[in-house]
Amino acid sequence: MLLEIENLAVEVSGKRVLKDINLSIAEGETHVLLGPNGAGKSTLFLTILGFPNYNVVNGTIKFKGQDIAELSTAERVKLGIGVSFQTPPAIRGVSVGDLLKIISNQDVNDELSPRMQDLAKQLKFSDEFLDRDVNLGFSGGEVKRSEILQLLAQMPDFTMFDEPDSGVDIENVELLASEIGTLLDKDKPQGARKRSGLLITHLGYILNFVSADKAHVLIDGVISCSGNPTEILEDIRKNGFNGCVECAQCLQ
C-alpha cells in the first residue's frame, strides 16, 4: 500500500472531527472522497499533510510503509505527497514563477525550465502571469490552474485534490482534468500506473473526465461506505447522503 490509514482520530481545537478512519490506497489508484459539508474531508487532507493544529489522538498514517506521524509537512512533501488547495492564501512578493522554480528544485536566479514554461503555456498562463504574486487577485479558475501547475512542478507520488473543479467553467474543467490525469499516470495502462491520488469533489463532475477506482463517503468523521464511484455517486444523487448513512447502519 502507498497510503495506509488505520483507526485515525483527529482533534482540531479540542473538537474531534475525525473519529475512526480506515483507508488504504495502493500504487496507481485514484480514490474519490465524498461527503456533506463539514464531514471532515479537508481535515483528513490537512492531517495527512501534517499541518499544525491537527492533532492525531489515535491511529496511524503510513506512507510508503513509513509512519509519518513525526514528520513535518515539508518532510512529508519531500517523501512524495502533494496537494491542491481549494482556496489557497495569497503570498505578497512571491511570484508564481519563483515558487515554481523552488518546487522543481531550480535555482531562482535561473530562467524557468523549458518543461515548466511549456506546462504553463498548456495551462493558459502567460509570462506576465508567472511574474504575479502567488494567488493575489487570481480568479477562481486561475487559482485552480496555478495549483495544478505547481503540482506538475512537484510531480508527487500521491496527490490530494480538494475540489479541483469548483468554480471552473466547462472548457477549463477538461483542461484541468487532462493535467490531473498526468499527475495520476492516467496516460499509462492501468497496470503500469505508479502515481496515486485522492480527490474531494462535491458534484462529481470532474469524474466524467478523470476515472476513479474507488469512492469513499465521509459522514460525521467516519467513512460510512466505500465502493464503485459510479454506483455510489448515482445513489447519492438519488437519495442524498442519507442513503449512505443507512447503508453504513446496515453494514454494522
Partner: protein
C-alpha cells in the same frame, strides 16, 4: 518662491538660537553635548573614490554608492564634516557641488536655504543652523538639474561617519529646474568600529514645474548611532517626486518625518519605505504629504518588520486642503518576535469637500496559512517564513529608470540578506 529679505540671515540665527534646546515633537530626546563637532577641513581630500580602503568601499556599495562610478551622473562624498570628494564632470545636465561652494557661486541660492525646513523646528535643525551661522560650517551637497534635461543615471551622494562620537551635520539643497529629470541615490553609513555617533541631515528639495525627482536613500548605520534627518519637498505644477527609503541595519534611534508639499497643480508625491527593525533599534519613521494644489496626488506606502527587541513607529499623514486632490496611505507591519513592537499611526486629514483619501493599515504576525501553504510545497518552515518576510518587504519600485530600478532591487535584496 517667496523671496526673503536681507534680514533672513539674522532670522535664521536668532530663530536657531531660540530653539537650541527645543525637544523634537517625536523620537527619543538626544543630548547633543555627548557628541563632538568636527571642523570642516579635518580630513584630507581624495582624488579618486578608488583610493578608499577596501572596507570603506564595501560599506559604500551596501548603501548604493559605487566607487567605480559606473552608470552614475556624479558623486559626492562627505566624511564626518569634510567634503572629501566631488565628481561633477560626468554629466552636462547636472550641477553638483558642496553647499558652501554653491552659496558662493549663486547668490539666489539663499532663497532656498532654510526655506521649507525651518531652523527652529527643533534642537537638531537649530544645531545645524547655528553651525552654519556661527561657525561658518557649510557642509552638505547642492544638486541641480538644468532646465529641460533628463539625465537617466543617478547622482550618488554618501554621508559617512568615520570617527567616534562625531556629530555630523549636513544641509543639502536639491533643485530640479523646469521640465528636468533628476535621480539621486544617497547612502549613509558608518565605519565598522564606530560605537557612538550622531547624524543630522537637513534636506530641502525643490521641484519646478514639469520636473521629476527620484530620491532613493539607503541607511546602514551602526548600533549606537542616533539619526535625525529633517527633509521637506516643495513640488510645483505637474511635477513628480518619488522617495524610496530603505533601512534594515541596526541603529540606536532614528526619527524622521519628511514632508512633501504638493503645492503645484497636478503635482504628485510618492513615498515608499522599507523599515527593518533589528536588535534594539528604535525607528520612528513617517511620511507626510500636504495636498495644496488642484489635482495633486499623494501616496505613502510603508512596510515594517520588527525583529529582536526593536521598536518601530510607522507613521503616515495625508492632508487634503483643496477639492479634487487624492491620497492613499498604506502601512503594513510584521511583528516577528515577542519583544519587538510596531505602532502604526496612519492619519488622514480632509479640509475640503470633493476629495478622496483612503488608508489601509495592518499589523500582525506572519500568517500561519501562508506558512502552511509553502510548507505543503516542500519548503521548510524556516525558509517559508523568510520567503514571506522578504516577499512582504518586496515592493515594486516605481518611477525609476530600468537599470536604477534593478539596482535598487538588488540593494533591497542585499539589505534583506542581512536580516
Amino acid at each position: 518662491m517667496v523671496l526673503m529679505d536681507v534680514l533672513s540671515v539674522r532670522n535664521v540665527y536668532s530663530d536657531a538660537e531660540k530653539a537650541k534646546d527645543k525637544k523634537a515633537a517625536l523620537g527619543v530626546d538626544i543630548e547633543l553635548e555627548n557628541f563632538t563637532d568636527e571642523p570642516i577641513n579635518a580630513l584630507d581630500l581624495i582624488d579618486d573614490l578608488d583610493d578608499l580602503s577596501k572596507e570603506t568601499k564595501e560599506s559604500f556599495l551596501k548603501v548604493g554608492v559605487d566607487a567605480k562610478e559606473e552608470n552614475r551622473a556624479g558623486s559626492f562624498l562627505q566624511v564626518d564634516q569634510t567634503n572629501i570628494f566631488t565628481n561633477n564632470s560626468i554629466s552636462d545636465s547636472i550641477e553638483l557641488m558642496n553647499i558652501g561652494v554653491a552659496l558662493d557661486k549663486y547668490s539666489w541660492l539663499e532663497d532656498y536655504v532654510w526655506n521649507i525646513v525651518k531652523p527652529d523646528t527643533d534642537k537638531y535643525t537649530a544645531k545645524a543652523a547655528l553651525r552654519e551661522e556661527k561657525d561658518g560650517i557649510n557642509s552638505g551637497y547642492f544638486v541641480r538639474s538644468l532646465p529641460g534635461t533628463k539625465e537617466v543615471f543617478p547622482v550618488q551622494a554618501c554621508m559617512f561617519i568615520s570617527d567616534e562620537s562625531v556629530l555630523q551635520t549636513a544641509h543639502n539643497i536639491i533643485i530640479a529646474e523646469e521640465n528636468s529629470e533628476l535621480h539621486l541615490i544617497t547612502g549613509c553609513a558608518t565605519g565598522d568600529d564606530i560605537s557612538s555617533a550622531m547624524h543630522v541631515g537637513v534636506s530641502e528639495i525643490y521641484l519646478k514645474p514639469g520636473s521629476k525627482i527620484t530620491f532613493t536613500m539607503v541607511h546602514n548605520w551602526a548600533e549606537q548611532v542616533e539619526v535625525r534627518p529633517r527633509t521637506s519637498i516643495h513640488i510645483g505644477d505637474n511635477a513628480t517626486y518619488i522617495n524610496n527609503y530603505i533601512l534594515a541595519s541596526p541603529v540606536r534611534s532614528l526619527q524622521s518625518y519628511p514632508t512633501a508639499y504638493c503645492n503645484g497643480k497636478n503635482s504628485r508625491a510618492i513615498f515608499q519605505s522599507i523599515q527593518g527593525g533589528v536588535k534594539d533599534s528604535i525607528i520612528d519613521m513617517g511620511s507626510r504629504v500636504i495636498l495644496n494644489g488642484e489635482g495633486a496626488r499623494g501616496e505613502v506606502i510603508s512596510r515594517a518588520v520588527a525583529q529582536d527587541e526593536s521598536q518601530i513607529y510607522a507613521r503616515g499623514h495625508l492632508a487634503g486642503n483643496v477639492p479634487t486632490v487624492k491620497g492613499h496611505l498604506e502601512c503594513h507591519g510584521l511583528v516577528l518576535s515577542d519583544d519587538s513592537f510596531i505602532y502604526a499611526v496612519p492619519e488622514l486629514e480632509a479640509s475640503s469637500a470633493n476629495l478622496e483619501m483612503s488608508h489601509e493599515a495592518a499589523v500582525g504576525k506572519i500568517s500561519e496559512d501562508e506558512i502552511n501553504y509553502l510548507t505543503s510545497r516542500g519548503i521548510a518552515e524556516e525558509d517559508a517564513e523568510s520567503m514571506i518576510v522578504r516577499g512582504f518587504l518586496n515592493m515594486d519600485i516605481t518611477g525609476l529608470p530600468d537599470e536604477l530600478a534593478q539596482h535598487t532591487q538588488n540593494m533591497i535584496d542585499m539589505t534583506l540578506d542581512g536580516m
